[in-house]
Each structure stands twice: as C-alpha cells, then as structure tokens.
C-alpha cells in the first residue's frame, strides 16, 4: 500500500500531537417533535479509534448522518480539520476527507467491485468532460493511475477474486469489505464505520477487526466505530461514547465506561426498590 501509507498530511501531523480532527460541540437534532440527538459533544483525535455505542434508537447513526452532512443538526457545531462543516453538502464534506461505511450496505449494486472502489476515487480524478469524451491524455492517465490504487485496496482487502463481479451478486461479508474498500479509496482522514460486523460470524468479525487494526496502524486514519458487538468495541476502541435516547451518558476508556453505573442502567436496567 505504498500510495496509501501516508494518506494525508493532516492526519500524520496529528498522530504526533494527538490534537482533535473532529470536534462535535453540543449538537441537537430533532425531526418534528422527536429528538434524535440532544446536546451531544465529543472530539476525535488524530489516529484515534473512537467508538459510539448505545441501545437501538440512541442516535448513533444520526450522529454519523450529521457528521457527513446528510442531516443538519438544528443546534451546535461540527468542526472537521479546522473547518466548520455544519450545513455543508455531503459531497463537500467528503472532499474534506470524511469517508463512510453504511449500516445497511449502500453499494452501487449494478457496478462491479472495481467500479465501486473507483467511485471512491471520484474526488481524486480531476479531468474534464471533454477529456472524458475522448478518453485520451489526462483522462486515460488518471484512470490508469487511480486504477493502480484501486487494485492496491483490492489486494489489501483480499477481494481480488470478486473484482469484476457486479456487487449485487456478492455475499454479505464480501459486500461489507467492498464497502470498506470504497471508503478507503477516498483516502480519508476520518473514517466512519457504521456497524461493520453486524450479522457476521466469528471468523468474518475477526477478519474485519484485523482490517480495522491494519487501517489504524498502517494508514493512521482516525475512525469512529458504531457497533453492537461489545467484545469488538472494548478490544479495539481507544475511547467510547455511550448514548441513550439521544443523550450522552458516558465518555471514556472502555474500562471506565464498563464500570459506569449510568451505562449499566441503560443496558441492563436497574433493580427495583
């Protein structure tokens, strides 16, 4: 992964200083009378693996949608790489270096694995419409050069055998990997992983965990992980944010969070009397 080893100067600088890449400050989001997120704040440091957990409907995916610009919170601020991103279009936030893996696979089903990953390269391909019509010169050079990067990612995720199949035909576990590949192809400085191992067996979960660790150690990409698999979260995460009904109830290292009475109450309930 020669090209990907140093994904972004911002992230690499950050690893040394540990300064925050993403700062979420007091955001609140509601749909009509329903509050999805209320007054949640946290920050993600460069190179960190940050986890968000919470029962169903706690607002985890809503936070992802707010960060990537699909939803716009009514209050608060979100700062990424020093820029205020609240209210920006999703494609403009993507250009700043936020990539995302979706909870329910959102791949382009009719395209091949390769084309899906090449779509992750979209913002790195800058040739003009005219050049595309002729498919010569800059367009061809850019396509070939970026194809090499796409192949590096295919190798990394071990999906070479599926390279030229339409994604819609592939099994679930492979689709999840393709989605991770598509996000990596964007060379992000922040990667949002929405339940990357949901519905996977132990072996597939271990594979995915290894990929996540590789991404962190070799590419230095900061990640936010939303996951219900507590074993995975507690093993991998540097810090954990716990949400319940849109409220932040705890934030700390896995050990701190596990011992927090509010967390235990949210997950297990409390004794009567």
């Amino acid at each position: 992964m020669v090209e990907l080893t140093i994904p972004d100067e911002v992230a690499v600088e950050g690893v040394e200083t540990g300064r925050p890449v993403l700062e979420v400050d007091n955001i609140s989001l509601s749909f009509g009378g329903t509050t999805a997120i209320s007054d949640v704040s946290f920050d993600v440091r460069a190179g960190e693996l940050f986890a968000i957990i919470g029962p169903n409907g706690a607002g985890k995916t809503s936070i992802f949608n707010s960060i990537s610009g699909v939803y716009i919170p009514q209050q608060g601020s979100i700062t990424f790489a020093g820029e205020d991103v609240l209210g920006r279009r999703p494609e403009s936030i993507a250009r700043l270096g936020v990539a995302r893996m979706f909870q329910n696979i959102e791949l382009f089903d009719n395209l091949t694995v390769l084309d899906n990953i090449m779509l992750g390269r979209h913002n790195h391909l800058h040739y003009s419409l005219l050049s595309a019509f002729l498919f010569a010169g800059k367009a061809k050079r850019a396509e070939v050069a970026n194809r090499r990067i796409a192949e590096e990612i295919i190798d990394f995720l071990d999906i070479a055998a599926h390279r030229s199949f339409p994604v819609g035909m592939l099994p679930y576990g492979i689709k999840k990997r393709v989605e991770l590949g598509r996000a990596l192809a964007m060379q992000p400085s922040l990667l949002l992983l929405d339940e990357p191992v949901a519905g996977m067996n132990v072996e597939e979960t271990e594979d995915m965990a290894r990929f996540i660790l590789d991404i962190r150690s070799e590419l230095g990409i900061s990640m936010i992980l939303v996951e219900h698999d507590m074993g995975l979260v507690m093993d991998l995460a540097d810090r954990v944010l716990v949400l319940d009904f849109g409220h932040r109830i705890a934030l700390g290292t896995p050990a701190e969070v596990q011992a927090d009475p509010a967390v235990i109450k949210a997950y297990l309930g409390e004794e009567l009397g």
Binding site: V70, E91, N110, D115, L119, H122, E143, D155
Partner: protein, 393 residues
C-alpha cells in the same frame, strides 16, 4: 500489509510498449496493462466483429433498395437519440419522456441556421459544419436551464415533469410560425451542405452512381459512429461512474463526493445534445417537418429503443434502434400472411398500424418481465452460454 509480494497484472510502465498491451496468445481475457483492459475493444474477437459489421454497413446500400437505405439511415439517427436517452435514463437513472421535445428543438435549430428562408419562415442557410453543432448545443443549453428544476424530482415525478415539457414544446412549436411554419404547415428542414458538399445529393464515384439517400446514409453513419464512441468513452470515465452511482444509491453517491445536482445536470445536457443532433438529422430524412412530429409518441418510441435494446448499454441502444425502426417494416411485410388490412377503414380485424402498436406494447411488456436488460441481456446470455460450452457451468 503483506501485499507487496502479490503478483499484479500491471508491473508498472506508465506507457506500456505495444507488445505489452497485446494480450497473450489464446488468453483473450488476460491483460498485461490496465490501459489495454480499459480499451473499448479489449479483445481480438470484439475488434474483428465490429470491423466486420462496419464493412457490412458500408456495403449495405449497394444491396438495398432506396427506401430501405433511408430506413437504415433512420436507424442510425434513432441510435444517436437512443444513446443520448440511455445516458440519461439507463446510466443516470433519470426517466425522461421529454426526448421528443429536444429532438424538435434540435430540428428547428438546424432548420433556422441551415435552412432556406421562405414565406415568413426564418432560415439563415449556413453550412452544416455550423448548424450541426448548434443543433446539439441549443437543446443542451435549454436542458442546462431546466436541469435545476428537473434535478429536484425523481422517478415518476420526473417522468411527469418531462412529459409536460413535450406538451409545452408542441404548443410552442405550433405557435412559433416564424421558426416552425406553424401547425399543419411546417417548414423545410436544414440543408445538409457540409463545407460545400451537399450530403443529400447524388454523386458518381469510380463509375458507381450513389443516390442522395445513400450519400446521406454514409453521413449519418459517420456521425453515429463518432457519437457512439464518444458516449462509450464517457461511460467508462468518472462521469459515467458518477451517473451510475446517482442511479443506484443517491445518498451514498453524495457521501462519496458525487454532487447530485451537477451529475444530473451533466447527464441531462448531454442527453439533450444527442437528441438535438438526432432531431436535426431525422428532419432531413423526413423531408418536411411539422410541429406535430415532436409529440409524446416519439418520446415513447425512444423509450422503447432503450427498454428493448437494454438499459445502461451503448450497444443495447443501437440494437434497440435497429429493432424499433425495422419492426414496422417487418410487420408490413407480414401483412400478406395475416388477417389484417393494409390501411385504415378497409375492413379486417386489425389494420397494420394497430398491429404495429400492439406488437410494440407487447414486446416492451415481455422484455420488462422476462429480460429487463433487453436485447443486450439476451446477447450476454448467449455469450455466457458459449463461453463455457460444451459445459453448462
């Protein structure tokens, strides 16, 4: 990552030598460079058959009668319009019933800039080298203006919006007498004089007499080939991929950095450019253009081209054009064997036109149910069967 030792198809050179780009003997699917895999004709078989087809098309006029030559020229024109619609509807997923409107705008743009002025109708009489690009650019500009509106809606709503465009267009065409000649009157189309050569005239080449339909047949073929190759290039570029992304998952496309408005606008404008060129050429084949030509049914015919031919496939659009243009002729020839009359009001159970309409509708329904990928899908099935032949898998 222990991936550095993995064998990769492309060892490195940015500009591979000619020998490196050629596939190994007997291994047509083994590519030794990314550039050769990305090529349009990436196998020898494709090169051979496309070459053979081009030769056949070039020789065809000598074997056909005049009206058939004109019909095949119409196939090329329908293929141009069909490719344009397939870029918008097949690739970018934006169902458009407005193709007829843009065909009309193209035809009238060509007629205004390239036609003769007569009896209150404007005609500048410019060269085809000017009016042909304009016939594409003017519809594309109109599409650019309409795109922000059209990009806000999708699916059925977009279909209705573009349908409205056809009716508004028909009304404008009927009222704008100075440009279109008005309802029931019409006007003469543009003169296909390209850099002094009349492309709709008879010539004598090496003792062969080439009639005017044959001349125009070749002109249409050249324009069609150029536009088909350009479209094929576009769909394998980042633009083609972003079209497909918007079609398959628009939210995910945005999160990948693809702007929906921009992508839909580009698709809409390019599609209208193709429609405009097709309209201009079609008007010359028809000979005289009346505002009623550019109606809803013409839009449906173009939708039939891509549904029967195959969505999201350039060769599918071409196959669809052959089918849609040739079918009425075929049905006509069959009337001798069927209990149908040859015209309206001549008794019999059905007349030819009714039979044509029924067959059309039936085919669209059958294709949607049995093979949504159209003729292109049928071809893929046949190809895959013979790839593994004589084994079933």
């Amino acid at each position: 990552m222990s991936t550095t030792d993995t064998v990769r198809p492309d060892p490195a050179p940015a500009r591979p030598s000619r020998a490196a780009t050629r596939s190994l003997r007997g291994r047509p699917a083994l590519y030794t460079s990314y550039a050769s895999e990305l090529a349009i004709f990436n196998t020898g078989t494709k090169k051979f058959w496309v070459g053979a087809l081009v030769v056949a098309v070039l020789l065809l006029p000598f074997a056909l009668q005049r009206d058939m030559v004109a019909l095949v020229a119409t196939v090329f024109v329908f293929a141009i319009g069909g490719i344009g619609l397939n870029l918008l509807t097949g690739y970018a997923g934006q169902v458009s019933l407005g193709q007829a409107f843009f065909l009309g705008v193209g035809a009238y743009t060509a007629a205004v800039f390239g036609g003769e002025s007569s009896r209150g109708v404007i005609g500048l009489g410019w060269d085809m080298a000017i009016w042909l690009p304009l016939a594409g650019l003017v519809p594309a500009l109109i599409a650019l203006v309409l795109a922000p509106l059209a990009a806000r809606v999708r699916g059925l709503y977009l279909a209705i919006l573009t349908l409205g465009l056809v009716f508004i267009g028909e009304h404008i065409f009927k009222e704008a007498d100075a440009i279109t000649g008005g309802a029931g009157v019409g006007r003469a189309p543009a003169e296909p004089i390209f850099l002094g050569f009349n492309l709709f005239d008879r010539y004598e080449v090496f003792g062969y007499r080439i009639d005017r339909f044959t001349t125009f047949y070749y002109a249409c073929f050249v324009i069609f080939v150029v536009m088909a190759v350009l479209a094929r290039n576009l769909v394998r570029s980042r633009f083609g991929r972003s079209f497909a992304a918007v079609r398959d998952r628009d939210v995910a496309a945005e999160v990948m950095g693809v702007s929906l408005l921009r992508t839909k606008t580009i698709a809409f404008a390019i599609s209208s450019f193709y429609a405009g060129i097709a309209g201009a050429l079609l008007s010359i084949i028809i000979g005289r253009i009346s505002p009623e030509t550019w109606n809803f049914f013409l839009s449906v015919e173009f939708l039939a081209v891509i549904f029967i031919g195959g969505l999201a496939s350039i060769s599918g659009a071409i196959a669809g054009a052959v089918f849609v243009v040739m079918l009425p002729k075929l049905v006509n020839n069959l009337t001798g064997f069927l209990p149908v009359s040859s015209g309206v009001g001549q008794g019999g159970i059905l007349n030819v036109f009714e039979l044509q309409t029924i067959i059309f509708g039936l085919l669209i329904v059958l294709f949607l149910i049995l093979e949504p990928r159209g003729l292109y899908g049928l071809w893929i099935r046949v190809r895959n069967y013979f790839k593994a032949w004589p084994f079933s898998y």
